[in-house]
Point group: C2
Chain length 204, copies 2
DNA sequence: TTTTGATTTAATCGTTTGTTTAAATCAAAA
DNA sequence: TTTTGATTTAAACAAACGATTAAATCAAAA
């Protein structure tokens, strides 16, 4: 009973994750999720009280997946700034190669829910107070780069990594490539992005 | 009569643009649009046949705005590669400072409509066959940069420019800044991004 | 076996939402 | 002024959708 419980609940959650990620909250219909999970519509409301409740769970777990790999890699005190850079890029591209819809999903839903989601997991703390953040500020001080450029560099770093997944249809069109070739390009970026970030740093 | 026609039709289209841009197709309700336009609900179907039809018009005009400034700047044969780079970045950041929701809107709707929209305005032609594209390939040849890196460079260039607007809530949170300060940062990027792109090119 | 509580289903309810209809209003032409 | 056609509105329809209900099923405990 218990094992089947978990299985059904997980099955619904996995289906909800898939449908919410690809269609967004407003575009996802409870009947779509039920069909995707292979269950009756009423089961969805039996396990989770409502569409909203189910969505909150999916959103929370998605953001956890998305920011947790960042946070853990950012706070390893053993590794150098350069190594952490490579590790984070590697983690992200690996994660997004399996679930490429995550960034667009998060950004889209944030536009409807501007403050609430950002505050829940306070990204500012994760980024600024992390070992990585401190190492980066130290390096900027060494190179006489003004403090306010910190945000620019974070934007560049995350943008170079995440943007291709957000703009995947356009990228595939411009490069005239399929999904496999797109993933190959992203694998290449694991080594290229750290080089580019360093080049940007040196140019400032 | 005629002048009032146009005025009402434009008023509806402007309202639709605003609501579609911020809520997406599925999240936008025809009643929201009617209220935003200050008109009766039935008027929407009187001027435009349906929600879908109205959406198609908004989407077409939005993509035209978004890619046309690109295309025209890309195909000026007078300007050098470096100057074109600066002009395109400047155009884009100016446009997006006024309508920051456009990129997220386009990307979100593409996920529901993968092929149709990309094919309509064939971005590949605009980018690859443009003077800018040819100048870039020439420069890459001079620097012995392998051809397949072309897509990487385009991703970097557009990503550095567009991504901050897509991730605006997160950027504002990380930088602990308000909308005005965000726009200031974007103004700075008008001069910074061309420098960074050159730094990236030199590192390859 | 019978009982009990959890799980699953079919059917339906009430609201939202896109669209239509029929009538009212208005501005210009006759 | 009357007429005509375009414009606008109030009201309602029909389908989609989120949620609930009541009954059926099933697995384990008594």
């Amino acid at each position: 009973m218990e094992s089947n419980d978990k299985s059904t609940e997980e099955k619904i959650k996995a289906a909800a994750r898939k449908v919410f990620h690809t269609k967004g909250f407003a575009g996802a219909k409870t009947r779509d999720i039920a069909e995707e999970a292979g269950i009756n519509l009423a089961l969805l409301n039996y396990y989770f009280r409502s569409k909203e409740k189910l969505f909150e769970i999916v959103m929370f777990e998605t953001m956890r997946d998305f920011f947790q790999s960042l946070a853990s890699a950012f706070n390893n005190p053993e590794t150098s700034f350069e190594l952490k850079l490579s590790l984070v890029v590697d983690n992200y591209i690996t994660l997004l190669s399996h679930e490429p819809e995550i960034p667009l999903f998060i950004m889209s839903e944030m536009r409807s829910n501007p403050t609430l989601l950002v505050e829940k997991m306070n990204i500012r703390e994760v980024v600024i107070n992390s070992v990585f953040g401190q190492q980066m500020k130290f390096m900027m001080a060494q190179k006489n780069i003004p403090e306010h450029k910190f945000v620019h560099l974070i934007m560049n770093f995350i943008g170079l990594t995440v943007f291709p997944f957000v703009a995947r249809p356009i990228v595939k069109s411009i490069g005239n490539i399929n999904d496999d070739q797109f993933n190959e390009l992203m694998q290449e970026r694991k080594t290229l992005i750290p080089l580019w970030v360093k080049a940007i740093l040196d140019s400032m």
